[in-house]
């Protein structure tokens, strides 16, 4: 091998730039090593290593947050560093930490191995982070499939539960289908763009920049447009946008609670991160087509999500269906971002508040859940506030924030999106969003109502059906921090806005 080649490898592959991802990958490998070398009775400490790795990376990313100026293309254009990428990193690291926390609550009940779980979570996290920073369709697809395959496993992780496996299978088939659609889209784009030579350097339709330039020059190329829309469709599967939202309730319900949270938060956020990049950069010249497509999608998603959640009684399905409506609001932000750049920040703000609230809600669900946690009805929350004031309060804050009730962070998220939408003159969509919010009040309220207003669940022998849940100090702290952050961000947004809306 020639030295030039090695030099080229060294030049184009600036590994330092993906340090966080690499550390996570190494830590993931380390977990497996530890599993081999440590005696069995100490395996329960191994996930702590994963947590430590996540925390370390998180601290590192936050400390070096501004070190990355953005716009740098690395790995021969595979990766593009950006401020949004940094935000996404922080987001995914945070979310994964919380997922591991939830896993520490749920997994011991089923006695499924936690090391493998942590490993997969770490790898998926790294892949998520790369996914949002990718600048190349090959990179994009590979990272996406890594994430997806990780999720196939995670969703069916409780293999003793037929529901978990069924959810896994449904996710698998539909995920593969959507991947196929997305891949076909990539192929079409690749084919349409063909071979582009700029300054003697050959570019292909895999590169984001090239695609954007091509679309600029050929805004009515059918193959490219079809490809772009198919790619959007594939991403729509991730974010659960109409009509690709159909898998969500089943899979959310069947998946183990931590995985549901992971899907609901990280997978959805990754979808939006990618969508923002695609819509605002790669397919930006197609905005004339994208605007109606995304608008219809957003409206349908909001309405469909809220309406179908209206009568839902299963807590995880409810989270899923309401999550669809949240995707709708976020799509509204994405549509707005076509004209109002600040909408991007609003979308990220919304995602953060959504993460805080969802994770808190899933935390409560995790504590209340039993081994077979797919059948949890809203009724089981009856009188929670009385039996367990702490969990009741957390639930109230979380659900309140999801509903967008004002002093809480969720409201601020919605507000920013609405302001952006208003500035973008999306009045029709706003009206739909308002209707959606009003409908959502009903079912979220029903949840809080169960926890606070209803009489207690009485088992067959007249005993309270709720098992006595003990909450560890860490668990209590985590949930408190989530709830407090949700409240605090409602009042004082500086920590987040100073960062997202620069």
């Amino acid at each position: 091998m020639s030295t030039e080649l090695l030099k080229a490898i060294a030049d184009s592959n600036q590994w330092w730039a993906i340090g966080p991802e690499m550390i996570l990958a190494c830590a993931a490998l380390g977990l497996l090593v530890l599993e081999i070398i440590l005696p069995k009775d100490q395996h329960r400490f191994i996930p702590i290593v994963a947590v430590l790795a996540l925390v370390a990376v998180l601290v590192g990313v936050i400390m070096n947050f501004d070190a990355i100026r953005g716009g740098e293309e690395l790995f021969g254009g595979l990766i593009r560093l950006s401020a949004a990428g940094q935000i996404a990193r922080v987001f995914f690291l945070f979310a994964s930490l919380l997922v591991l926390f939830l896993a520490s609550v749920c997994l011991p009940r089923t006695r499924m191995p936690r090391v493998e779980f942590s490993h997969i979570v770490l790898v998926v996290t790294a892949a998520l982070m790369l996914l949002t920073q990718s600048n190349h369709f090959v990179m994009f697809f590979v990272a996406l499939e890594t994430v997806t395959i990780g999720f196939y496993i995670l969703v069916s992780y409780f293999r003793d539960s037929a529901l978990s496996l069924e959810a896994g299978l449904k996710y698998l088939v539909l995920g593969a289908l959507s991947s196929a659609i997305l891949l076909f889209g990539i192929v079409l784009i690749y084919g349409a763009v063909g071979r582009v030579v700029v300054d003697g350097v050959v570019h292909t339709g895999f590169e984001y920049g090239t695609v954007a330039t091509f679309l600029q020059q050929h805004p009515d190329n059918f193959l490219a447009i079809a490809g772009a829309l198919l790619v959007i469709g594939g991403v729509a599967f991730k974010i659960g946008a109409f009509p690709f939202q159909i898998w969500i309730p089943d899979v959310y319900q069947g998946a183990p609670t931590p995985v549901t949270a992971f899907l609901a938060v990280s997978s959805k956020a990754a979808g939006f991160a990618v969508l923002l990049v695609l819509v605002d950069q790669v397919f930006a010249p197609l905005s004339a087509i994208l605007r109606p497509v995304l608008s219809i999608m957003a409206a349908a998603t909001i309405l469909f999500g809220n309406l179908s959640a209206l009568t839902q009684r299963n807590d995880k399905r409810l989270m899923g269906l309401s999550g669809i409506s949240h995707a709708g609001y976020l799509l509204l932000g994405v549509v707005a971002s076509l004209t109002i750049p600040m909408a991007t920040g609003a979308v990220w703000f919304y995602l953060f508040t959504y993460m805080l609230a969802s994770m808190a809600a899933f935390g409560v669900m995790a504590y209340l859940g039993v081994t077979e946690d797919a059948g949890q009805e809203i009724d089981t929350y009856n009188r929670l506030a009385k039996d367990h004031p702490f969990l009741g309060a957390i639930l109230a804050v979380a659900v309140g924030s999801l509903a967008g009730i004002p002093p809480l962070a969720g409201f601020m998220g919605k507000l920013l999106i609405f302001v952006a939408a208003f500035k973008a003159h999306l009045y029709g969509l706003l009206a739909v969003a308002i209707i959606g919010v009003v409908i959502s009040i009903y079912y979220y309220f029903g949840w809080i109502k169960a926890a606070y207003f209803e009489s207690p669940v009485v088992g067959e022998e007249g005993q309270p059906a709720r098992p006595v849940t003990t909450i560890s100090l860490i668990g209590a702290t985590t949930l408190t921090v989530l709830a407090l952050a949700t409240v605090l961000l409602g009042f004082y947004q500086q920590p987040l806005t100073g960062w997202l809306l620069k």
């Binding site: 772009a228 469709g233 599967f237 109409f242 690709f244 089943d250 209206l310 009568t311």
Partner: protein
């Protein structure tokens, strides 16, 4: 002390008294009653001082509230009219207070009673002193509420509670027009200050008629007269003060205040309403057996006289050569002002004259009846009384003076004032004159009936046989009022009290004088004679026995209004309310709102049902998505 300060103090002293009693003296009835009575005494002294001090029309005005151009001010207009009215309120008020010391001595809620009296004095003086219509309205409402509180004194009695409510609501109905009139007046004239209005105002028929609605309620004229007889549920001193002497007269006073705004058409209406009320009430009074009810209907009747007197002032229009003022011709209006006013004021004079004398003798009669009731251990049915003449001599004598005064015995106050009214009627309108004369006959008839049955014969019940003369605190006011009932009609006295108002009282001249005297005597003889001989001092009503048909007609007349109103309230208003309630709760809240919510819920169920759990169906969704996206790319949409 400057007159203006005295005036303000007169207004504020009763307020202070009421506040003090409400806050601290709730359980100290004796102290409360003395404080209230002393306050009344001070008011009486001040009112005399103001009356005879001679200071008039001193400027006094403070802004109370202002939004933009709209402002309400608190001001005093103190002219002869106000001075006279203030005196009446002060003197009768003091009498009633003193009387109440004895009458209410054993009442458990004495403090509330005297607090209410003080509140009433405050409100009434407010009306008297007010220099603008807004302010009149404010105190107008306040007398209403003090009347409510006092009628409701025996609030454990359902009838008292109902009567109080009725009085308040009926007054509100009157105030509906009053308030609209004031507002209209404000926007048309851009002021509601009485002095400014007198100087310059736009002529309009609607304004005086709307304003008259207020008097309709407060002075209990047809068709809003229904509350006054019921108001007799209150303690008797209250009936004397509020429902005979002062508050019900406030309507007349108010009319006199706004007299410059009057136009002939409005006066005509006012006159007829007063006349009809006078007749109607007199007819009703004949069949009453409750001593206070008789007096109440008599009050109504007398108020009708006053209103009629006020209204009569307009009939001189026929001497006005240019006819009615035409729209858009200011010179017509100017002419009307210069020519018509002197004649109009005759009504004011007669009305105020009768108001004054009526306040004295009707106050006397009510207090007398209070003394009787007190003496008979709260027996109010005249047919269960009898023979009180000997047992309650002072009461009997003073009551007799009152009766004689009201039926117009020459030489007593009522004779002069009634004469003035009848003369005015004779001059202006023969029909009214005839009706009023007939009413006067009826007045004599029913008063003598009551008087005879109450005081003569023998005791017809346990309570009456144990009757006793009342104490000094009750007889003293009787004596004072009796003296005023005798003297109040003489121009020497009334002229002193009323000042320039007295000059407006019409006096028959020459032959007319004789006519009037003869008419009065005829009235007296017919009325007194027929009653005296018709009614024995027995325990049953002679009319009911001898002519049940006539009696029944009169009874029906009395009750028809109540029946009508009750029918309206129970069958129309309540049913309408129930209907609207049904529409609101069942139709709007239930059918529309819940129905809509249910519809959304159904759609929700539908949307939820799409998640069938079947993988194949889900794949079709994906196909749909892909096809739609493809179609978008192909430009189908």
């Amino acid at each position: 002390m400057l007159p203006v300060n005295t005036a303000i103090l007169t207004l504020l002293i009763p307020l202070a008294s009421a506040t003090l009693i409400a806050l601290f003296l709730r359980k100290h009835g004796a102290l409360a009653s003395w404080i209230s009575t002393i306050a009344a005494g001070v008011i009486a002294v001040f009112s005399l001082q103001l009356l005879f001090g001679g200071a008039r029309n001193f400027p006094a005005s403070w802004e109370w509230i202002r939004f933009g151009d709209f402002a309400i001010s608190l001001g005093v207009k103190f002219d002869d009219l106000a001075a006279l009215m203030l005196l009446i309120v002060g003197v009768v008020g003091l009498c009633v207070h003193v009387f109440s010391l004895g009458y209410m001595h054993d009442d458990g809620a004495r403090a509330r009673f005297f607090g209410g009296l003080s509140l009433f004095m405050f409100s009434m003086i407010g009306i008297v002193l007010a220099d603008n219509l807004f302010m009149i309205f404010i105190f107008w409402e306040l007398v209403g509420v003090s009347s409510y509180v006092l009628i409701n004194h025996y609030c454990e009695k359902q009838s008292a509670s109902d009567a109080a409510k009725k009085a308040f609501i009926v007054n509100r109905v009157g105030d509906f027009g009053f308030l609209l009139g004031i507002i209209m007046c404000y926007w048309l004239n851009h002021t509601v200050n009485l002095s400014e209005l007198a100087e310059h105002h736009v002529f309009s028929t609607a304004i005086p008629l709307l304003l008259f609605c207020g008097a309709l309620g407060k002075s209990a004229q047809m068709p809003l007269q229904v509350w006054l007889p019921d108001a007799m549920e209150g303690p008797t001193p209250v009936s004397a003060l509020i429902h005979a002497a002062t508050m019900v007269a406030a309507g007349i006073y108010m009319l006199c205040r706004i007299e410059p705004l009057m136009v002939p058409q409005a006066l005509n209406v006012i006159m007829w309403i007063g006349t009809i009320t006078a007749l109607y009430a007199a007819l009703c009074a004949i069949v009453q057996s409750d001593i206070k009810k008789v007096l109440a209907y008599s009050t109504l009747s007398q108020l009708g006289y006053m209103v009629a007197a006020f209204g009569l002032g307009a009939l001189e229009m026929k001497i006005y050569p240019l006819g009615l003022p035409r729209v858009g011709h200011p010179e017509d209006i100017a002419a009307l002002e210069t020519v018509g006013r002197g004649f109009l004021a005759a009504g004011v004079g007669a009305a105020m004259f009768h108001l004054t004398t009526h306040a004295f003798f009707k106050g006397l009669l009510f207090l007398g009846s209070g003394s009787v009731i007190h003496g008979c251990h709260h027996e109010q049915d005249i047919f269960k009384m009898g023979g009180l003449k000997g047992k309650m001599p002072i009461t009997f004598v003073t009551f007799t003076i009152g009766v004689l005064a009201i039926i117009g015995m020459p030489g007593l106050a009522g004779f002069f004032s009634k004469d003035a009214i009848l003369y005015l009627a004779l001059e202006k309108n023969a029909a009214v004159f005839a009706i009023l004369v007939f009413t006067a006959v009826l007045t004599a008839f029913y008063m003598i009936r009551m008087w005879k049955i109450t005081f003569f014969g023998s005791a017809r019940s346990e309570n009456a046989s144990h009757a006793h003369e009342s104490g000094l605190s009750m007889t003293l006011p009787l004596l004072l009022l009796a003296a005023l009932s005798v003297a109040g009609g003489y121009s020497g006295v009334f002229g002193k009290l009323a000042g320039s108002v007295a000059l407006l009282v019409p006096e028959p001249e020459g032959a007319k004088h004789m006519t009037m005297l003869l008419t009065s005597l005829a009235i007296l003889i017919v009325g007194v004679g027929s009653a005296w001989f018709f009614y024995p001092a027995a325990s049953t009503d002679a009319l009911e026995e001898k002519s049940p048909g006539l009696f029944g007609v009169l009874e029906w007349l009395k009750e028809s209004f109540d029946r009508l109103y009750n029918y309206y309230v129970a069958k129309i208003q309540q049913r309408f309310a129930m209907l609207l309630n049904f529409l609101d709760q069942i139709f709007l809240a239930g059918l529309i709102i819940r129905g809509f919510a249910g519809l959304v819920g159904l759609v929700g169920y539908g949307a939820r049902a799409l998640y069938t759990g079947s993988l194949h169906v889900y794949v079709y969704w994906f196909l749909l998505g892909a096809v739609v996206l493809w179609a978008f790319a192909a430009g189908v949409f």
